[in-house]
Symmetry: C2
Subunit: 320 residues, 2 copies
């Protein structure tokens, strides 16, 4: 795990504290958002095997433009993220008006993780101190654990009848995409590929909380393609470029691809391009809906971090 | 959930505190053990589809005597429990000799649960006070949470690289039976039927920690028999008498039946008999090994509670 994020109202020697504003930029791991000019247009649709609820808040549907055979609709994380940031902006404005408080977010980076070359480069710059990840995590007050990584939050997430204070951002973003695109989860078979503490495991727990029947595929699974092929919903979070092939996918399945893997590409100015854990070119011909990489789950993670930060600030200030 | 158990060295107005002794009796929910006269005899075997490790500590193998077609070996919880209690007795004696301390176990019962008529009857007698289960659980120090039900323990159980202080007794007993009978878990497909906080969910987490590929079947699962039929290991913990039929079972699978369900039986003096979640008569003709009900998982739960209590006492007294 790479970054530890928490909210606070006090400044710290090791953490930068910045208020939310109305502009959109990144600085040292802290991300801001801006208000959108145009609301999302609305169109309803039905997918092949899963029931898609029509909703006045559903994002528009775009078919994956990877060739004439593509049937999958694109689950557009960027578009959904814009909508969510709008909603958060409105709530922050309201909060500021009502009690004069603006949520703050402080970030400590520990260790390394190659989610993307850019990310690693930035972290190397930002993070020279060597700290114990477990100690840091345990030291964060659970009320400020906006990453949702504290074992107490994970325990509550796993237990029926309990509520975590925060849900880890990336898996929360995956489920939010399914919700915003009206994908029915209850009673569906779901395969989660990867069992990491920060994505796979909590994603499986979240799907189970919504009454999906989950199977968790990992490095020791002998027949991953067989299990994956039974799933109505696939969440791939394993960090292996293009691992999930077209023949792993049940026709009409919905695919959430969490992977962000750099692969060499001499045509790119950077020398590499980013691909997911799912072979998009093949999957978009079989699935009913799929997230692109980049532009799928990636931006949702940051949006969910903002959402958790807002929740934390509201809770601490006794706002509903 | 019915009972909350914790260890303590101080007496309390609401809890009885009793030392471990060398006798075997139950009193108000507190269970003691006795030293066995004869060690378990040893025989090695191989099952049909799973690799069974030969081990000098394996219990003897008995074929399910339900008719000439029975192929399943009986996983004898009573026998394993005796062995474990022997081991615990030896450790407690050693602890007493070394530091003069004997582990103590105190029990508070809250609410109701129909695991068996006897159990409920005893609880009704013992438990008239109405208490909030969540508050009680949260008030128990994690160092004394020998039931392993605290969300912090569950969170650590779910997370890779983390260790819970205690593992919930019944699922721990299930895994212990698999271990003692040399059933290989790593890389195997496992179906857990039921997702309760006290059995199904932690059992799935434990199997995953041992590198099984888990699927969790529950009341919202549309095709439970199809998923169960793919499993090399089945843990049934759903509280439905004889729900898992013979045709739900892959030939050679190993079955751990957690269910203890009373069904009417006019031939019994009590008017009922206890059956599992698995139809034993059918399953024993298909599975390679199966726990009986009663005499399978049931006695293991108490043995694991003693094991957790011993661990707690050792940890508090800085013994390894």
């Amino acid at each position: 795990m790479a970054s530890i994020t928490f909210t606070d109202y006090a400044s710290s020697a090791t953490a930068r504290l910045l208020p939310f504003t109305g502009t959109n930029f990144r600085s040292n791991g802290v991300v801001f958002f801006r208000r959108l000019v145009n609301p999302l247009s609305v169109r309803t649709t039905s997918f092949r095997s899963l029931t898609i609820r029509s909703s006045s808040t559903s994002p528009p549907v775009v078919t994956a433009a990877m060739g004439s055979e593509a049937v999958a609709k694109v689950i557009d994380g960027k578009l959904v993220t814009k909508k969510i940031r709008e909603e958060i902006t409105a709530e922050v404005s309201k909060m500021k008006d009502e009690i004069g408080v603006v949520p703050g977010l402080a970030v400590i980076l520990v260790g390394e993780r190659k989610d993307s070359a850019t990310y690693v480069r930035n972290k190397k710059k930002a993070c020279e101190s060597h700290m114990n990840e477990q100690k840091i995590l345990n030291a964060v007050s659970i009320e400020k654990d906006v990453d949702g990584f504290h074992p107490l939050n994970i325990g509550r997430l796993a237990m029926r009848g309990r509520e975590p204070l925060f849900v880890p951002c990336t898996p929360k973003g995956c489920i939010e995409l399914l919700h915003r695109y009206g994908v029915e989860i209850k009673g569906k078979r779901a395969a989660v590929i990867g069992r990491s503490n920060i994505v796979g495991m909590p994603a499986a727990l979240l799907l189970q909380r919504e009454d999906a029947t989950i199977s968790i595929v990992h490095s020791r699974t002998k027949n991953p393609e067989e299990i994956t092929r039974q799933a109505d919903i696939i969440i791939a979070a394993v960090g292996q470029p293009n691992m999930v092939k077209g023949n792993w996918i049940k026709p009409g399945a919905v695919i959430i691809d969490v992977g962000i893997n750099p692969v060499e590409d001499s045509k790119s100015a950077r020398g590499y391009r980013l691909v997911g854990d799912v072979c998009y070119e093949e999957a978009c011909k079989v699935a009913s809906a799929i997230t692109p990489v980049p532009g799928g789950v990636g931006p949702m993670t940051i949006a969910m971090l903002l959402s958790n930060t807002l929740s934390s600030a509201k809770r601490i200030n006794n706002l509903q």
